[in-house]
Symmetry: C2
């Protein structure tokens, strides 16, 4: 009797594991990939070959990321719109920048977390990587509004920054706008957030609950993985507004790139980064899932199905790197003054 009970128990467990096992295989066949556990494999993504990672660069990049003196006004930093405390975004529909200007295309600030896994940057995909991307918002009139020369003057007027650049890049470093943006990119590339979902994909089959596993299965079955795949679950260019029979919530004046393509946002930490879409048009994650079903896939996703997919999406909330808030070096008499105009 005891023997039979054990055999049944093992059989039941076996069935569960076999199921999770095949779900894992299925996920791999749908091009879903974990953040690598292996440090060398992880570094193959995180490390920028054009600006190889080292500890000094990460610390310097972190300081510059948090330094509002990179903006014309002196009060807006990279972290203002890509707030590491708020899932790496700003929690408003359209970014607000210099002189309280809303983003002219009413674009929502994407999360900086895991942005290293995006194949391209910006909603219209116009930037190939973070070292390049970081140059944009600093200069944009509606964001930080700082001309290149001003940024370089500010940074090089502060001896500790010059010293830290030398430590990071060697004595002969040329501190120009490109190196400043690049070292910010080095810091940003370290902002990866492994989640229970990654544990599952890395073989820990009980890392996701049955509900979450069911949601993952439905996520694949419904076709979400057509765009949301790879490590980022997004980060590639995809056609904007596919299903003609449905209309997207107000597109605003953003039309994607020249071919009408748009960068699929990552789904990592999606539960923390409302509002959703390029225009921040929807605040509720379930509503967002249903909207994408209709607009992109041309299908109706039921309330129950959307709930199940949201169960899965919640498992994408990852562990954030511990960031010590930096103490920034003081300005000097040579530091160009902030201007709010």
């Amino acid at each position: 009797m005891r023997f039979i009970q054990n055999a049944l128990l093992i059989g039941a467990l076996g069935a569960t594991f076999a199921c999770a096992d095949s779900l894992l295989e299925k996920a791999k066949s749908y091009a879903l990939e974990p953040i690598p556990e292996d440090i060398d494999e992880l570094l193959s993504y995180v490390n920028d070959k054009n600006d190889p990672i080292n500890y000094q660069k990460i610390e310097l990049g972190k300081k510059l990321y948090f330094d509002p003196r990179l903006s014309k006004s002196g009060i807006i930093s990279c972290n203002t719109c890509h707030n590491l405390a708020l899932g790496g975004a700003d929690g408003v529909d359209a970014a607000i920048g210099h002189k309280w200007t809303k983003n002219p295309s009413h674009l929502n600030s994407p999360t900086v977390y895991n942005s290293v896994f995006n194949q391209i940057q910006f909603w219209d995909g116009r930037s190939p990587h973070l070292a390049d991307q970081a140059q944009g918002p600093i200069q944009a009139d509606a964001e930080m509004a700082a001309p290149k020369e001003l940024v370089v003057e500010r940074v090089t007027s502060i001896p500790q920054y010059v010293e830290e650049f030398k430590k990071a890049y060697g004595k002969n470093v040329k501190i120009n706008f490109e190196t400043i943006a690049s070292v910010i990119g080095v810091f940003e590339r370290t902002l990866v957030t492994p989640s229970p979902y990654d544990d599952f994909l890395n073989g820990k089959l009980n890392a996701l609950s049955e509900k979450e596993q069911a949601g993952l299965d439905l996520f694949m079955e419904k076709g979400c993985t057509a765009c949301h795949n790879g490590i980022a679950l997004g980060g590639t260019m995809q056609p904007f507004q596919v299903a003609e029979k449905y209309k997207f919530i107000s597109l605003g004046n953003f039309v994607g790139d020249k071919d009408g393509m748009v960068k699929t946002p990552t789904l990592r930490n999606i539960a923390e980064t409302a509002p959703y879409f390029h225009n921040g048009g929807i605040w509720n994650l379930k509503d967002a899932v249903k909207e994408m079903g209709s607009v992109q896939l041309g299908i109706d996703i039921s309330d129950e199905e959307a709930d199940s997919i949201v169960d899965f999406l919640n498992s994408l909330t990852g562990k954030k790197p511990v960031i010590t808030y930096p103490i920034l070096p003081a300005s000097t008499d040579k530091t160009p003054k902030p201007s709010a105009d």
Copy 2:
């Protein structure tokens, strides 16, 4: 011969120590006080009897301090103007707040570091302590512009915040605007920054260089300690614009309190918190020293004297508490949406 050399050496050292020793005695007689080294003595300042300190409150207060959702727009936090990375201030002449509004009295944001040692808060001294002070900027139209009810709704709509309030204050906590501001105050009260100057006052006579000691002596001799005394080297109400024969750099439309009194700013970390004065009118510390000599003391401070006093002021740059940047709990469907208007 060896004996005589040693005796001379001891004599010389003795003389130096005796000199620093008497400078220390002099400083005490001028009502200069260190941040206490003794933890119980320090706690007698840091602890708010009306809201006794505990670890949970500090962590919760820190989260709220960094949370931009305490502002109407969702993008301005306490830390925006009192930036812990920038000496606890914002580095601009007059604070910029909601809708890019400059402070209507063109007032400069004072540092939050060591503000617990101020006897009163705000430039016009209208607030008795930080738990009260924190209520001001959150509501002010030109700062965070959030009505009390909105702040309470935002915080109580987020289950993790409710949970943290219960852990900090007990199950029956009433989360109202006053408790929210008070717990921010608890965090702020921990932001003290001991400096080499404190080490000196606490008896480590070689903590200040000879130059810094000379500067301290001159600081007392010139009469700066008339207003800049106590632990804060400031933080009390003093007459505004004392010396009639000199005119202050543009007063702006700020006239102090009803009796024409103004809160003397702390000098701690002063080298990190340019621009100076209630209106941020002067950017250079040496110029600021000279200005105060003429306006407040009615004396001319020479360039050499000002340099020496600045040597001393640099020793007031303190060690900042290590702050782990918080991960804030996500908003929910019930969280009132941000509004930039």
